[in-house]
């Protein structure tokens, strides 16, 4: 089967037909609609079938986005790429993680949101040219303004350098993201599963984080409150506050100034200093308050079917406390959860999962590999492999040269992907993760297609983890305390 033989069917599920404001005229297209197919269908596709679909879809994405996305267009011109003929043609056009934060940091310091808007405009097909942002006094206000005039619902990250990346998602991509997220709970083959949210399963949700904000987790919380919790007040967060992008950015700027040895050049107003102190204190306090939060949840929702989403380290700390108090099997046995991330403050023992299950009573935990920049996840199967769905085109790059490694056998490299779901921004992205992909040998779980095996490690932690001394100042060896600045 070749790419030209593939006809991409429009979505059959009208219920899920996703639209953004008419003025932007973005509706879910036939490619994005693949997300509504069942796992059996998606992971039942043969490699040839997958790649034919991917190539056709990739051509569509490139052809429709390149003329309007200035950043993509210049990259394509520079690489002399006018059209896509093979999957790997897209590799020179994948965006580095720095692309979504390539603006000069000083624009934030000087409140030059007009220039920032122009920069952002080159990364999305949504037209931002007519929006006045002159009045904006901060990032939160700037993003509020963009959202009130367009379908944009951007996510931001903290980024490793401390500079915020802005991912120009719209309501469409937000909804696709959420659909792809809930898909983790659908079954494959004989495995039980269910449809989460909407007219499917609706249960109270426990999410020990901050309620509002524009990190991906906060977007998810908003969607869970609307789509999964029986009513929005049955979405339980540890704090009902908001994670301000301005504070996240300032924290980042402090780190950057530190790395450059220019901390003394930063001037904070007393109000900002106080906000910053509160922000850091809350960050510090959060793990401590976590056990109390879980305790109160255990009392309030005892015996109920719930959905728990938490960092593994938080859950385990709460478990330790619960073990002391002799609490166990708190929630009903058909509850389910997701425990992600290792957490830096605690080393989890081998039996952490069993002990968390014994405390909560939850036996069904979904695991997956994902990042802010990708729509959806790579679900983990019972053999511990992360399966890559056809809507994500995976690549492994040589970590030094950036060259694409052959897409066969079992290989390790820097993970990159083209995410076919987004329609209003470029889905090509290079991560900072070292991943091993098995391209050919099928997984015993029965899912077809490539999958990631073994540990996923960040290249940056590999580098800084080493014992290298040099006399030249670099970011990793000039990290110092914030206390002096915060007074």
């Amino acid at each position: 089967m070749t790419a030209d033989d593939v006809v991409i069917q429009p979505a059959l599920f009208e219920y899920f037909r996703l639209e953004v404001g008419e003025e932007n005229n973005v509706v879910e297209d036939a490619i994005s609609a693949y997300i509504h197919k069942s796992w059996d269908e998606l992971f039942g596709m043969e490699r040839g079938e997958i790649e034919a679909f991917q190539l056709q879809a990739l051509k569509t994405r490139f052809d429709s986005l390149a003329p309007g996305l200035k950043r993509l267009k210049s990259k394509a011109d520079r690489a002399k790429i006018a059209s896509i003929h093979t999957l790997t043609d897209v590799v020179p056009l994948l965006f580095d993680h720095t692309e979504y934060k390539s603006y000069p940091l000083s624009l934030l310091e000087k409140n030059r949101f007009d220039l920032l808007t122009r920069w952002f405009d080159d990364l999305t097909s949504v037209d931002l040219s007519g929006i006045s942002v002159a009045h904006c006094g901060g990032i939160d206000e700037w993003l509020d303004t963009l959202e009130s005039h367009t379908a944009l619902r951007p996510n931001h990250t903290t980024g490793t350098s401390g500079k915020l990346s802005f991912i120009p998602r719209t309501t469409l991509e937000r909804d696709l993201y959420f659909k792809a997220y809930t898909k983790n709970y659908e079954g494959f083959g004989e495995q039980p599963g269910f449809k989460l949210g909407g007219d499917g399963v609706r249960v109270p949700v426990i999410y020990p984080s901050v309620r509002h904000g524009r990190y991906i987790a906060q977007t998810l919380i908003g969607m869970l409150a609307e789509q999964v919790a029986p009513s929005p007040d049955q979405l339980y967060t540890q704090s009902s506050g908001s994670l301000s992008a301005d504070l996240a950015s300032l924290a980042g700027r402090i780190r950057v100034a530190q790395a450059k040895g220019e901390l003394s050049n930063l001037h904070l107003s007393d109000a900002m200093r106080a906000k910053m102190r509160a922000y850091f204190e809350e960050l510090e306090r959060r793990p401590e308050e976590m056990s109390a939060f879980f305790e109160s949840m255990a009392r309030e929702l005892q015996g109920e079917r719930v959905f728990v989403i938490s960092q593994a380290s938080y859950l385990f700390k709460a478990t330790l406390k619960a073990e002391e108090l002799g609490m166990s099997n708190i929630f009903s046995a058909d509850s389910f959860g997701s425990a992600g991330g290792g957490g830096k403050d605690i080393i989890l023992p081998d039996d952490w999962k069993q002990r968390v299950s014994a405390f909560t009573g939850i036996n069904q935990w979904a695991s997956s590999y994902a990042m802010t920049e990708i729509t959806g996840t790579m679900p983990m199967c019972e053999f511990g492999h992360y399966h890559i769905q056809p809507l994500h085109i995976p690549f492994l790059l040589d970590p030094n040269s950036g060259e694409c490694l052959p897409r066969n056998g079992r290989r390790t490299g820097r993970f990159a992907f083209y995410d076919l779901m987004p329609q209003t921004y470029w889905g090509g992205f290079i991560t900072g993760d070292e991943v091993t992909i098995e391209w050919d040998s099928p997984c015993p779980c029965g899912r077809k297609g490539a999958y990631a095996v073994g540990q996923i490690e960040r290249y940056s932690s590999k580098v800084t983890g080493d014992d290298k001394i040099t006399c030249a100042a670099t970011v990793d060896n000039t990290d110092a305390s914030l206390q002096a600045l915060l007074g």
């Binding site: 200035k70 950043r71 210049s74 990259k75 520079r78 965006f95 580095d96 993680h97 720095t98 692309e99 934060k101 390539s102 000069p104 940091l105 000083s106 920069w119 350098s161 500079k163 950057v256 790395a259 450059k260 040895g261 220019e262 003394s264 050049n265 970590p399 030094n400 950036g402 820097r414 290079i430 290249y459 940056s460 800084t464 080493d466 014992d467 290298k468 001394i469 040099t470 006399c471 030249a472 100042a473 670099t474 970011v475 990793d476 060896n477 000039t478 990290d479 110092a480």
Partner: protein, 491 residues
């Protein structure tokens, strides 16, 4: 394929090859095999300060003679240790092979009588404080005799340039120190090769008997909590940044003197005189290229962010862009023994540059069309340094246009090291303020990578600080009344 590199432990002339620990090296291609240093800590540490006395049986001239003979033996073609160190450094280091070879063929430039004498003359006022008690009469009548004595020291050295190992050995020998060199993972063999050469050359020489070299993973508490104790160690000379110094600071207590040579970043100040003619622009670009690209920009003294007094209006930015283009061209013309481009271009920097390369309103990037491997010059169009300035390496410089060159001083900090300035008249005018703002070594533009060992380092005097400066007061009650005496006894 993993190759195994043996890193013996050397304790005062004895070579210990009891390898039972493996460490990954920087290249990821080889594994370092070392003895377990914690097993040998009792032997490594000397709690007998008098053991240094044998170093006072030899003269300054003997020491210089020893060092010069040592330098002769650090010969790439005949010394297998030196060759092995060179080969390993080529594998790990980002310096290009030709530049690396220039260093490994340059031992006699460091271990050289004229050069050593010059250092001693300029930094210690001659060898007399090393050789004898030097007496002065003070106004209260006493005779104050001063001597610079050696100490038991540990050097946590940097491995980005082999010169660090060479100068550590030279300074330690000159100051008659008992020296333990903590070898760096990015250059575990150079200092070791020097010490092994000493053992081959003169196994019983007092200097040989006072050099030890060991590799352990920095921060290994099992080793470090035993070593960093004031009854064993009087001085710690620590290269590197917060991460490497952090685990040392927790062992600091009275009795241990910490001398830090921390990471630095260097800069250039180029005055408007550069634009006086086309040929001046070209000439200044060549000098700036040497400061930026010499030593493949692997050293702290290399210029990274460079300030140019071009003006920041449209015309000024155009001037800056033109200079940026000349600078990139000059970079390609540098002699291959000082600059060849890095072996591995930092992928993180590559990502940053690729993300701004099309933002022409903010950054103008001069680089080869094929890629960044030959280096690059980024001219900031907004008059401020790139946000990723801490990553600048691999012969990538950032030109920041300013209206007045004095404005650049706002960006100086404690991390600023070398400041290359053009023209010299600007240097004379601005140097005091540049130094007060953080600049530590000031030089005519073009000579940043040619710093002389005869000067102070990073605005401190490491050689003086490696010594214990002992004062001996001789007082005769007839001329210096004692505090026990009543005024009637001496008035």
């Amino acid at each position: 394929m993993t190759t195994y590199v043996k890193i013996p432990l050397i304790i005062r002339g004895e070579i210990i090859e009891d390898y039972d620990i493996e460490h990954r090296d920087r290249s990821g291609e080889s594994t370092l095999l070392t003895p377990d240093v914690s097993k040998y800590s009792a032997q490594l540490l000397s709690d007998n300060s008098q053991s240094l006395m044998d170093l006072y049986d030899i003269s300054y001239d003997d020491i210089v003679e020893f060092l010069c003979a040592l330098g002769q033996r650090l010969d790439l073609d005949h010394n297998p240790y030196w060759r092995e160190a060179f080969e390993q450094s080529k594998r790990i280091s980002n310096l290009s092979d030709a530049v690396m070879e220039f260093y490994y063929r340059g031992a006699t430039r460091v271990f050289n009588k004229a050069a050593i004498d010059e250092i001693v003359e300029n930094r210690l006022g001659g060898s007399r404080y090393l050789e004898s008690w030097v007496s002065h009469k003070l106004i209260d009548g006493r005779t104050l005799s001063l001597r610079a004595l050696g100490a038991r020291a540990i050097h946590v050295i940097a491995g980005n340039l082999p010169g660090v190992a060479m100068s550590t050995v030279m300074r330690s020998a000159l100051t008659r120190s008992d020296t333990i060199i903590k070898l760096p993972s990015n250059d575990p063999l150079t200092a070791l090769a020097i010490v092994r050469t000493m053992i081959d050359m003169a196994p019983d020489h007092p200097l040989t008997k006072h050099f030890s070299a060991a590799y352990w993973k920095g921060g290994d508490e099992k080793v470090e909590e035993k070593i960093y104790q004031p009854q064993f160690i009087e001085k710690i000379v620590a290269w590197g940044g917060l991460n490497s110094v952090k685990h040392i600071t927790k062992y600091l207590q009275p009795g241990i003197d910490l001398i830090t040579l921390d990471p630095k970043s260097s800069t250039s100040l180029i005055g408007s005189e550069v634009f006086s003619s086309e040929s001046t622009m070209r000439e200044v670009a060549r000098r700036a290229a040497a400061d930026m690209g010499g030593l493949d920009q692997e050293a702290c003294l290399n210029a990274r962010v460079m300030y140019l007094e071009s003006g920041t209006d449209a015309e000024g930015i155009e001037r800056a862009n033109k200079f940026g283009k000349y600078l990139y061209e000059a970079l390609q013309q540098l002699p291959s023994t000082i600059s060849n481009g890095p072996k591995r271009f930092d992928p993180a920097l590559k990502a940053e540059i690729n993300s701004v390369i099309d933002l022409a309103d903010w950054y103008r990037v001069y680089a080869d069309e094929q890629g960044l491997e030959k280096g690059a010059v980024i001219v900031s169009q907004l008059g401020e340094a790139v946000d990723f300035s801490a990553l600048l390496s691999g012969r990538v410089g950032n030109i920041v246009p300013v209206d007045a060159i004095d404005d650049a001083l706002d960006n100086f900090s404690a991390y600023t090291q070398t400041v290359g300035i053009y023209p010299d008249s600007l240097k004379t005018r601005i140097r005091t303020r540049a130094a007060l703002c953080g600049g530590q070594m000031i030089t005519s533009l073009g000579y940043a990578t040619r710093a002389s060992g005869a000067g102070p380092q990073d605005a401190i005097e490491p050689i003086r600080r490696m010594c214990k400066w002992i004062a001996d007061s001789t007082c005769d009650p007839l001329s210096v009344p004692g505090p026990w005496m009543h005024p009637s006894e001496y008035s």
